[in-house]
Symmetry: C2
Subunit: 205 residues, 2 copies
DNA sequence: TGTACATCAGTGAACGCGCGTTCACTGATGTAC
DNA sequence: TGTACATCAGTGAACGCGCGTTCACTGATGTAC
């Protein structure tokens, strides 16, 4: 059966999304142009009407991840003027909820042969991750100003510890194939993070 | 030139090590039987004298990782009767030092299509990781008994936080290709971990 | 409103390539006599 | 100590397969007149 004709912008979006889905659900080794095409509902060679080659598919998927993350970061700041601790917790919960999608990032990071000239891709990934870390650090600095977070710590180090709350969850989620209740487990570590970073009651320092 | 003949036990060890090295240095996509053979110094078909197929190579590399980790855990407990906090710090430093080798684990975890029937492999990986987490948790329980770690926290949650100190380092090390000083960065998070887990001075609880 | 044409997304056959694996053969090493 | 033989690690040609990609063609959609 012949697929219905669609405008290239629509197909590009569908293809990027399908690429991302396959990476997240089945990993990089399962990412073939045939698999992407099948998911979109067209024939493999049809992809080349919308993207130059397979590399371009992955780049497009990365862009999709990036914009999604940016949206997520913005959402955590809404409504504005909330407590820094609250915003961090919101961000933490959000990330655990969308762990299914987030898991695509480490899969790309750890599977790709990034030594083989794909400088653009690595730079793009680094930008996403650093953007995330910088955003966390900014919230932490703000919390330090507000007085709800202690001032005798490096914001960047605290941001990395925050990152470290999420990563083991993604890691174990992968290994256990969703059998372990990683969300609950990850949340159990949250009080520890708070104890490490929160300003002590009645202390201004 | 013909390679010198070696006993199969020796070759098996060399092959497992070469497989591990390639995964750690270049990632799973670069792991081909040709690459392993070249590194060992024999011809691709020669590998089949020592291992059944490519899958068996990966399994052997996993076993090598597992025994290395076990050795690392034991080393951290020597000399015995040390303070639990000291042992955790030693383990932390050790892991950062051997991050080059450790990075093979997430590369396998995140790149393999583990849905495709490789139940044995996933179980093996899970065993390695859980063994590590259990060991950390055991040290933490001991620290709680000794009184140097606070008792109002789940040992398993604290173990995962410890794991989270190391993972971002491996992650960023991958992305930056060793350009960032991830060790220094990771160490900066250590005081935060201590603050979250250490018993307060003069408190017995 | 109807016709002719340009545009362009979708198709399927064909390709070259790299990969994992097999297999008959080679030749070095160690053992039996 | 020397010879005959069994064992087994290493070799290279050959294979089948899946994959990414090309290309001439089809036919639907929208536009000009």
């Amino acid at each position: 059966m012949r697929a219905s004709k669609q405008r290239t912008e629509i197909r590009q979006e569908q293809i990027a999304q399908s690429t991302l889905d396959i990476i997240a659900e089945q990993g990089m080794p399962a990412l073939s142009v045939a698999a992407v095409a099948q998911r979109v509902g067209i024939v493999p060679s049809g992809l080349y009407r919308h993207y130059r080659d397979k590399e371009a598919l992955i780049d497009a998927a990365l862009d999709a991840i990036a914009s999604r993350h940016t949206a997520g970061l913005k959402a955590a700041d809404q409504p504005p003027n909330r407590d820094a601790v609250d915003r961090l917790e919101r961000l933490f919960i959000d990330h655990l909820e969308m762990i299914t999608a987030s898991v695509a990032i480490p899969r790309i990071v750890f599977s790709r042969d990034i030594h083989a000239g794909h400088h653009g891709r690595r730079a793009k990934l680094l930008k996403i991750v650093n953007g995330f870390l910088d955003h966390i650090a900014a919230i932490i600095v703000q919390g330090q100003r507000e007085g709800c977070l202690r001032r005798d710590m490096e914001p960047a180090a605290a941001a990395r510890l925050f990152f470290g709350l999420i990563q083991p969850a993604a890691f174990l989620w992968n290994l256990s194939d969703g059998m372990m209740d990683v969300k609950t487990q990850a949340k159990a570590a949250w009080p520890l993070f708070l104890r490490a970073t929160k300003a002590e009651k009645g202390t201004t320092r």
